[in-house]
């Protein structure tokens, strides 16, 4: 393999580049990214960056002395992957063709928007540094904030805004926020943080539309209520950025369908990070996990698979893990709650938002949740990985 193209210049792409070099690949390496920025860290965008305790420079993912000997094509969008002509090529929006023997797909995910909100000032999504800069400037003006969606990003934005002194409301269509990742019981415990801190939480009602001419002035709910709003953040999830692969022959279904090691079934093409819908042997199904740690760790296995060609594949990946910081509480979760038939609090108490909860299927632990319990959580997470 003499040329590898990595498409997507964020955490998963950078981790793939590092893995290529540490695994001994010394050929040409081209990184294509549609943002103009060097790889930066997204989790602080809704936390420390929005709060003003980290600057854009602090978000850099590369170290100062890192020399990966890669060619960076930034501000360049991939629009297609040509596998037809025997030689593989990534097609760019400006008409360029990047020929490569190996291709790493790392295009991540993009924030979902609310139809009809285009062009309405005061309405934000939060996925990129540019999004965060714009939202930060508006929050500095103060006012009434309505967050649509009670998932992790929405909750973090509400938490940060509350600390900045804004009046915040969170609207969630489901009866309980976070019931998807955490189950209804623990979802209620974690989302109880909102009301603990004086942030209004409205559940079980969808959003019908937004009010306002040029600038948003209200959120209209399906139950007929109208919430006055100066700033609206839409946090309704993300969709994998894989449109550019349509018709290329790479299998797509809620992202790039791939094996536990990122192999796509197309020789020389692997997928990593938020855009990868990988096979998880622990749950015997495909899953797309939008967490930082997977985007950091899993590229090593995908690169090993890419360099090995048809050769042997890596073992079972560690269980997915994520953390979130809300209202000064550190939330950590590992595993897969959907497979559990029971959840027990092993330490702390839900009322104090100080909890170590273990999810089990039969007697087997399948997931663990910690709120301000980093020490116990770390021990349980190790145990899950060993199981």
């Amino acid at each position: 393999m003499r040329t590898v193209a990595v498409v997507g210049a964020s955490l998963a792409g950078l981790s793939a580049v590092r893995a290529l070099r540490t695994q001994g690949y010394d050929g040409r390496l081209i990184v294509v990214g549609d943002e103009v920025h060097r790889p930066y860290d997204r989790p602080p965008l809704s936390k420390e960056f929005l709060a003003g305790t980290l600057t854009a420079a602090d978000l850099a993912l590369e170290t100062d002395d890192e020399d990966l000997a890669a060619e960076w094509l930034l501000g360049a969008r991939a629009t297609g992957l040509d596998l037809a002509a025997g030689d593989r090529a990534v097609l760019l929006g400006d008409g360029r063709r990047v020929a490569a023997d190996g291709v790493v797909i790392a295009t991540g995910a993009a924030a979902r928007t609310l139809p009809g909100s285009e062009g309405l000032a005061g309405v934000h999504t939060l996925r990129t540094l540019d999004d965060a800069v714009a939202l930060k400037a508006e929050l500095a003006e103060g006012g009434r904030l309505v967050v649509i969606g009670g998932g992790f990003i929405g909750a973090e934005v509400a938490s940060t805004a509350q600390a900045l002194g804004l009046e915040a409301t969170v609207v969630e269509a489901a009866p309980t926020p976070l019931a998807g990742p955490l189950g209804a019981e623990m979802g209620a415990v974690v989302s109880g943080l909102h009301t603990d801190h004086g942030v209004r939480l409205l559940c079980g009602t969808g959003v019908k539309g937004l009010g306002g001419e040029r600038r948003v002035d209200a959120v209209l709910l399906e139950d007929g209520r109208t919430l006055p709003a100066d700033i609206v953040v839409v946090g309704v999830g993300a969709r994998p950025c894989v449109e550019w692969l349509a018709g290329s022959g790479v299998p797509l279904d809620n992202g790039v369908t791939c094996g536990a090691d990122g192999r796509t079934g197309v020789p020389g093409v692997v997928a990593v990070g938020d855009c990868a819908n990988w096979y998880d042997p622990r749950t015997a199904g495909h899953r797309r996990v939008e967490h930082w740690t997977g985007a950091l760790e899993r590229p090593a296995a995908a690169i090993a698979a890419l360099l090995a060609g048809d050769g042997a594949s890596a073992g079972v990946p560690r269980p997915p893990y994520f953390w979130s910081d809300q209202y000064g509480v550190r939330i950590q979760f590992a595993g897969h709650a959907a497979g559990a038939d029971s959840v027990t609090v092993e330490a702390g108490s839900p009322g104090d938002r100080d909890v170590l909860a273990v999810y089990r299927r039969g007697d087997t632990p399948v997931a663990v949740l910690g709120m301000n319990q980093p020490r116990l959580f770390t021990r349980w997470r190790k145990q899950l990985a060993a199981a």
Binding site: L54, T293, L296, Q332, P374
Partner: protein, 120 residues
């Protein structure tokens, strides 16, 4: 500066003891019976290494899993980029003492900016 930490008999192997000085320092007792002291705060973000996972001469950060070598303070892989300070451990009459390094600590930016602002 020599700071008494705890009695050696009170710190079993595999355990850590955090000193609530500013910035905090943690003493680790490895499974092999060695004692090491390093800065408690991860150089990446605000996490306590005393809460981490101790294995051999390394502690893994409980938040994003960078590993620090207790002997040198060196970090093995991102996201942390800088080493932690190491401190000398002295045992006198069964008591663990830490001789705190005079080097500047590598505190993460979010903690450094909070300290710069003074106590909340």
């Amino acid at each position: 500066m020599m700071i008494p930490a705890c009695r050696l008999a009170d710190l079993p192997r595999g355990e850590a003891h955090r000193l609530d000085i500013d910035p905090p320092v943690t003493v680790f007792h490895t499974d092999d019976g060695e004692l090491y002291a390093i800065d408690d705060t991860c150089t990446h973000q605000d996490a306590s290494l005393a809460d981490g996972w101790l294995e051999g001469c390394e502690v893994e950060c409980p938040l994003h899993a960078s590993k620090f070598d207790l002997r040198t303070g060196a970090v093995d892989s991102p996201p942390a980029k800088l080493p932690v300070r190491t401190h000398e451990v002295v045992i006198e009459d069964g008591m663990i003492h830490v001789k705190v390094s005079t080097d500047a600590p590598n505190l993460p930016p979010c903690v450094a900016s909070r300290l710069a602002k003074g106590p909340a």
